[in-house]
């Protein structure tokens, strides 16, 4: 075995250096302020959960879970997302609380990823869950809150793409009857973003030309509100109509919330093969190759914890948000006070004065500074209380 170099860390793990930490805290604070202003309450859950419970029902693929054994031999997982743990709490300790529950979280989640750059195995999510509200008002609130919180951080040129898994499934069953295998195959092609495979599969089906044409037209149901008319004319059964009405209603409410400029629709959007049950969405920002945030309605998760409730929520990938903001030029506001043996007491008094005013002050003995000019240049303001410095007050 190759001897490890001392600086090495496990695959996919990153250190957060001060400049990045500061921006991350700032973005986290701004997101949290927006979330709190919508009346959501923050909570936390353990990093480790049982594989049998949270591990099994989470939206993360089993091969992406970090697993370990506890002393009794139970398989544990490092939480791969916050939604499943919060569902566990909502269905147990909070089940007698005031519904709809408005819960929020921020914390690290873990996913074993490929051995490749740019896909960290630990990252921080900030998100919300609205539990027990199955209306379009709930969907609209979550999306509006997502837009508002992103705007709060100063991000502006992002896009939220909204889809409806209920529409796709109803549409398929209308055209394919009970051929579940084909439906599954077609859904999988959409999930894998493979439109070539989708088209080939449709062409190979033994159904009427009209039906094939309709299936192919599903791929063009992307854009603004104009797609509602198109999807209505393609949709024939009751469930399709209901899904289209939900989308229309959602769009109307998003307009009331004033966030419609950030919204696109795409009825081919399948973020996950099983997890979501209605409206779902993904958010994108420039200069990020990957998703910034995502979410949607998941109505089968809470029942797996024996609570019959509908839920919806979003999660923002905090590190990616900081990358998208790309604003690391923050002014260093710290004051430095340089002292020697004689001026230490005086320096300490001065430092406390500033600290009371809420300033960050570092008090440093002059003998321990290897490079005085460099020390000065890193700080906003430096006060030298030493004899050499003349004991000057600023």
């Amino acid at each position: 075995m190759v001897k490890r170099l001392m600086f090495e860390k496990p695959l996919g793990m990153r250190d957060t250096l001060p400049f990045f930490y500061n921006q991350k805290s700032k973005a986290r604070r701004q997101l949290s302020e927006a979330i709190l202003s919508y009346g959501y309450s923050f909570m936390d859950t353990p990093l480790m959960e049982y594989h049998d419970t949270v591990g099994k029902v989470s939206a993360t693929l089993d091969q992406q879970l970090f697993k370990l054994l506890d002393q009794q031999g139970h398989t544990l997982v490092l939480r791969p997302d916050m939604t499943a743990p919060i569902a566990r709490v909502a269905a147990s300790q909070l089940k007698n609380g005031e519904f709809p529950l408005r819960l929020a979280y921020d914390g690290p989640v873990f996913r074993a990823q490929q051995a490749e750059g740019g896909k960290p195995a630990q990252f921080e999510q900030v998100g919300t869950e609205l539990i027990g509200d199955h209306s379009s008002y709930g969907d609209a609130e979550v999306i509006a809150l997502l837009v508002d919180s992103l705007k709060q951080t100063g991000l502006d040129n992002f896009v939220i793409t909204v889809g409806h898994i209920g529409y796709v499934k109803a549409f398929f069953s209308d055209l394919l009857g009970d051929d579940e295998e084909t439906m599954e195959t077609l859904l999988h092609y959409l999930y894998r973003k493979n439109y070539v495979g989708f088209r080939e599969c449709v062409k190979s089906l033994s159904i009427s030309g009209d039906k094939k044409q309709a299936l192919l037209e599903l791929l063009s149901l992307r854009g603004g509100e104009e797609i509602f008319e198109a999807s209505r004319s393609l949709a024939r059964n009751q469930s399709c109509m209901q899904a289209v009405n939900e989308l229309k209603q959602l769009y109307r409410l998003l307009k009331v919330n004033g966030v419609e400029d950030y919204i696109q629709f795409d009825l081919n959007l399948i973020s996950h093969m099983e997890y979501y049950t209605g409206i779902l969405f993904e958010g994108y920002a420039p200069n990020l190759g990957a998703l910034l945030c995502n979410g949607g309605r998941y109505d089968t998760l809470l029942p797996s914890f024996e609570l019959n409730a509908s839920a919806t929520g979003f999660a923002v990938h905090l590190e990616r948000l900081v990358e998208a903001l790309n604003d690391f030029e923050d002014q260093d506001e710290r004051i430095g006070i340089i002292v020697d043996d004689d001026s230490y007491a005086k320096g300490k008094r001065k430092a406390d004065e500033y600290r009371k005013e809420g300033r960050a002050v570092l008090l440093q003995h002059v003998d321990q500074i290897p490079d005085l000019p460099a020390f000065y240049s890193q700080l906003a303001n430096t006060i030298d209380f030493t004899q050499v410095g003349g004991g000057q007050d600023e």
Partner: protein, 211 residues
């Protein structure tokens, strides 16, 4: 329509066909692009930027968003599990992936070895067949492997079958048909939606013989 698109083009064999297709779709990349040693070329009048990449790497550039779109072989898409939109079959450089080997030679009974540039495609295929095999990854001249006894079979791209024939190898099974595909980065697909849709429509019109 003002956002510039970055396109990753495959260097080498596929380039000429791909460039011809782009030209017919209204994107003239010039004749001597391939001879030039430049890796990035700007076409301001068409508002595009072209980067020349190794065919195997096009998918990587697109997945990470270094390029908005790319032209990549289905073989690479099958081999590398990458998060990109596969929007159009460009039907260029058709070939297929096949299993080949020395004629009339059964698989080893101890541990059949398969030499290939496509470890994932090969192991997926043999797993589906219920065969337990071992992979020997190679980077080129795969045909050598069965000839000198390094492997029982190879899994490789076949276009004319000439290389196999000249080396006395035969094709056992065909695994999948391969053509080049137009792929799109998932974020660009949303944020540069109009520009990309425009290019896809132009290319798709060429494919359907409208242009």
């Amino acid at each position: 329509m003002n956002k510039r698109l970055t396109i990753a083009m495959p260097k080498g064999r596929i380039y000429e066909e791909a460039a011809e297709l782009m030209k017919r779709a209204g994107y003239d990349l010039g004749a001597d692009l391939e001879e030039s040693r430049k890796l990035i070329l700007e076409f301001p009048e068409q508002n595009i930027r072209v980067m020349m990449a190794k065919p195997m790497d096009v998918v990587t550039y697109v997945e990470y968003g270094a390029a908005d779109l790319g032209i990549a072989g289905k073989d690479v898409l099958l081999e590398q599990d990458r998060d990109v939109y596969e929007v159009l079959d460009l039907k260029i450089s058709p070939c297929y992936v096949a299993v080949a080997g020395v004629p009339d030679q059964p698989l080893s009974r101890i541990a059949p070895k398969i030499a290939t540039k496509y470890p994932k495609v090969a192991s997926d295929y043999f797993r589906e067949q219920g065969e337990q095999i071992e992979i020997i990854p190679l980077n080129g001249s795969i045909e050598l492997a069965p000839l000198i006894g390094l492997a029982d079979r190879i899994v490789d791209i076949v276009s004319t079958g000439r290389t196999l024939k000249e080396n006395g190898l035969v094709e056992y099974e065909k695994i999948a048909d391969i053509t080049s595909r137009l792929i799109v980065n998932p974020v660009s697909y949303r944020l540069k939606n109009e520009e990309i849709e425009h290019m896809v429509t132009n290319l798709s019109d060429v494919m359907e013989g409208i242009k």
